[in-house]
Amino acid sequence: MPADRRPAGGAAPGTPALSVRGLRKSYGDTTALDRVDLEIAQGTIVGLLGHNGAGKTTLMSLVAGLRRPDAGEIEVLGRSMARDARRARRELGLAPQELGIYPPLTVRQNLRFFAELAGLRGRAARQRIEEVAEPLALNALMDRRAAHLSGGEQRRVHTAMALVHRPGLVLLDEPTAGVDVETRARILAHVRELAAQGTTVCYSTHYLPEIEELAADVVVLHRGRVLTRGGVDELVRRHGDSAVELVFSGEPPALDLPWPVTRHGDRLRVRVEQPQLVTGRILAALGDAAAGLSALRVVKPTLDSVFLRLTAGTPGPDAGEDRNRDERTGAVRHG
């Protein structure tokens, strides 16, 4: 029964909520996704991070079965999108990037429609609608027409519509784009609650603090490729730019150190793995020049710097064009 189904929809406990292998998609000459592999374990949150045009929306629409991949396999809780699309879709809730609601209808009618489509009726539907409305603070808006709501309120309705059928895997495509602070906080809090209840969430954004706030696993998507994957701390440790920064009142002196030193106007930046352990040695190396020092700062790496560093100057999928073409012949056909 859909009404009291477990979030995972009866899939075996070890089955990934989402498994994507060798996914490729081009629009004409534009390669939007190039050999993307992605696995998401049940009950976890994955932040899909990438600039505009990285392929986030394309990936989500392929997973939701809105477009057919050129090659590759997609399984939602063990169900193949190519061979068993309807079972796969039953486990899936998509809140697309663009607001998709019925403006002439009330919030309740919008939610009820999606509940009814999923086979919920009467009491079960009403109860489920309450359940999704409450955490997104929609209760007071239920009888208002969607057209008359603020942008943030509409966005919450839009998100709630993806949740009424209790999907095991929720795809939220930039759910906080253009919303107010309160709505952002609501949505983020609810994503954490969903994961705590066992729902898997794939959350796309180009806004880094959100991923840090969600404590999500990060998948960095860049020009159609997965660049890296890991926890926020892990990525920061692996790819972060930690440094000691020295500000001088006059001209910065030359420094002789075993680490790379760069000069930016009145300051010097020393790139080191663990800056807090080496400040003494840096000060010693300054010698007399320490008199001109006006400030010393330990620069902690942020996800921001990791992201910028990872995506700077990485060749896009177009660079390997010829190779791609060769491999395409042997590609698994989808659909």
């Binding site: 939701a64 879709r89 209808l105 429609f113 999606f114 009814e116 519509m161």
Partner: protein, 261 residues
């Protein structure tokens, strides 16, 4: 129970009824306008019928009521188009596709509601024609129904075929409005079939409206019963089937359609 095709269809039909009730104006206008035109044109229709040899006891409603009903029914293709295109304008089409409903279910549910609306529109115009303009049916009312149902179906299917073939709502509305006028002329809805210009006569059988008017005239003017309208009703069914085939062949659920923008 649960997630069945019937449940999904019911949900989709209920949704379309809600949306129709939210904004019934387009349908109301297409029901009221033929009656207004009828009010002004009745004497002209009477003269035309008499000149065509229909005898002296006709009052004009015999031509005007079915004629205007047919003409304005074809304008309903716009309503069909809007019902499909607005889902693209609201970005809800992809949300529906991401759910478990099959694309064909999405079309079929819409068809049910639009067909009901078309039948309702015809019913109101014929009933109002009887009450306001003294329409008398010399043959069988049932024969009218036998023509009206496949007529409504072919109009809705024509609208669906246009939805599938057009990329923007403005393309659709241009084609729909021109087709509605051409069909009204060719079918003998605008003027009696007896008064049609010679050049138009050979083209008339290609218009579904021609068969609709033939069936209606048979029942209203010539005392026809159900057996007398089976041919026109059958041809209308063929039109509907042909248009359904066009719709299914060219329908791509993933096509982007431009609504307003």
């Amino acid at each position: 129970m649960g997630d069945s095709a019937l449940n999904r269809m019911t949900a989709l039909v209920r949704q379309d009824i809600r949306l129709l009730l939210r904004d019934p104006a387009p349908l109301l206008i297409r029901t009221v306008m033929p009656l207004v035109i009828m009010g002004f044109m009745q004497p002209l229709f009477r003269a035309a019928l008499q000149a065509g040899g229909a005898g002296t006891d006709v009052n004009g409603a015999e031509q005007g009521v079915p004629g205007m009903a047919v003409m304005f029914l074809f304008f309903m293709m716009n309503v069909v188009g809007f019902a499909m295109f607005r889902e693209h304008g609201w970005n809800t089409w992809d949300r529906l596709r991401a759910g478990t409903a099959r694309p064909v279910e999405l079309l079929a549910a819409r068809l049910v509601v639009l067909l009901a609306a078309a039948v309702l529109q015809l019913t109101v115009i014929f009933v109002a024609g009887g009450l306001l303009f003294g329409l008398r049916v010399s043959g069988s009312w049932l024969a009218l129904v036998v023509v009206a149902l496949p007529l409504a179906l072919s109009v809705v299917m024509l609208g669906m075929a246009l939805v599938v073939l057009c990329r923007t709502i403005s393309q659709l509305s241009v084609v729909a409005n021109i087709l509605a006028l051409v069909f009204a002329g060719l079918g003998g809805a605008l003027t009696p079939q007896s008064a049609m210009p010679d050049w138009a006569v050979p083209f008339a059988p290609f218009a579904p409206s021609h068969w609709a008017m033939r069936g209606f005239n048979e029942a209203i003017l010539h005392g026809g019963g159900v057996p007398d309208v089976l041919l026109p009703a059958g041809v209308l069914c063929l039109f509907a089937a042909g248009l359904a085939a066009v719709t299914l062949v060219f329908f791509r659920a993933e096509d982007r359609k431009l609504s307003w923008s």
